[in-house]
Symmetry: C2
Subunit: 193 residues, 2 copies
């Protein structure tokens, strides 16, 4: 999506280690006007998907997920992340490795809020190795729901997450797909589509 | 606000220890239609406050804060919570005691996203002892900004947070003020205000 690519080129900051900082407009301070346009694009892309519920994971995906859920007039559920291994049996849970933080979290959703037969749209701000997204798919599967797709703001297309999850048959729509970054020049190249 | 009080009476769950569970519609699964009406009420209440920015704290306040920021057409910033005592000097930070979890977190906001002269509206889902809200006020003060007020969904009016923060001269608008709860009967009484 040109709008998001242009904004990343203008305001994103490339740091060593393939880090793309977008915390001025997406994941610490949020430009709500931009996010609302991105939410509208997800609404357009998944208009025919029969979305019953939006699911995201805390914390930085919650704002965009809220705007998407608002547009579809469906509830939003956010999965909680916990470092504890003491998981109550009232939740669906899945361990998720964080490459950013080098640890393993457990994602948890109360069994009250995911049900068999529900059509669930996953929304998150970033997709890189795909661990968080795979965890969300796993908890929807446990509940007997259907993942109708995943809407991602920024995909690091040079990492394997998106490829692996698409290979499993899931629809993944990423509004910006970063092909490469250069911390020396600050340049960001996007995949052709 | 009658709408929220009615919903809490209907769908809130009272647990021992003055715990009010609203995770079916406010802070795990979110009823976006309800939240949008609550956001509209905050917009009405703070219409003349000259809001430049909305500030909340991760994670469960982000959705309502996003809808409020969207209505005011201003950026949303969410403060991050960290257990680490190793705080970078690029952030404003404040230690915050959690009564729920019995520990101390540090709330952090990048110095890039709070500035002198900004008029900041604080939004959160719960106000009880007021530690989180006091932490947010503290970081806005450090930045030289002005807190124009705090919009809270549910205040536990039998605890001291709201009283203390109002006594410091801040405007706190809570859409539902719980006066007492009874875990045996499940009843919730609201302050007349």
């Amino acid at each position: 999506m040109q709008l998001l690519e242009d904004r990343i080129r203008r305001d994103g900051k490339v740091a060593p280690g393939n880090v793309l900082r977008v915390d001025g407009f997406i994941n610490h301070q949020m430009d709500m006007e931009l996010l609302d346009k991105l939410a509208a694009e997800f609404q357009r892309l998944f208009a025919d998907a029969g979305v019953d519920k939006v699911l995201t994971i805390e914390a930085s995906g919650i704002a965009i997920a809220a705007l998407v859920a608002q547009r579809f007039r469906v509830p939003l559920v956010f999965a909680k992340k916990s470092k504890t291994s003491n998981i109550p049996d009232t939740v669906y849970s899945c361990p998720v490795k964080s490459y950013t933080h080098g640890n393993v979290n457990t994602v948890m959703v109360s069994r009250e809020f995911l049900h068999a037969g529900e059509r669930v749209l996953l929304i998150d701000d970033f997709l890189a190795h795909g661990e968080a997204l795979a965890g969300l798919i796993n908890v929807v599967d446990q509940a007997g729901g259907t993942v109708v797709g995943a809407g991602i703001l920024i995909e690091k297309a040079f990492q394997d997450g998106g490829k692996n999850i698409r290979a499993q048959g899931y629809r993944v729509e990423s509004l910006a797909r970063v092909q490469s970054m250069d911390a020396d020049t600050g340049s960001v190249e996007f995949a052709a589509d």
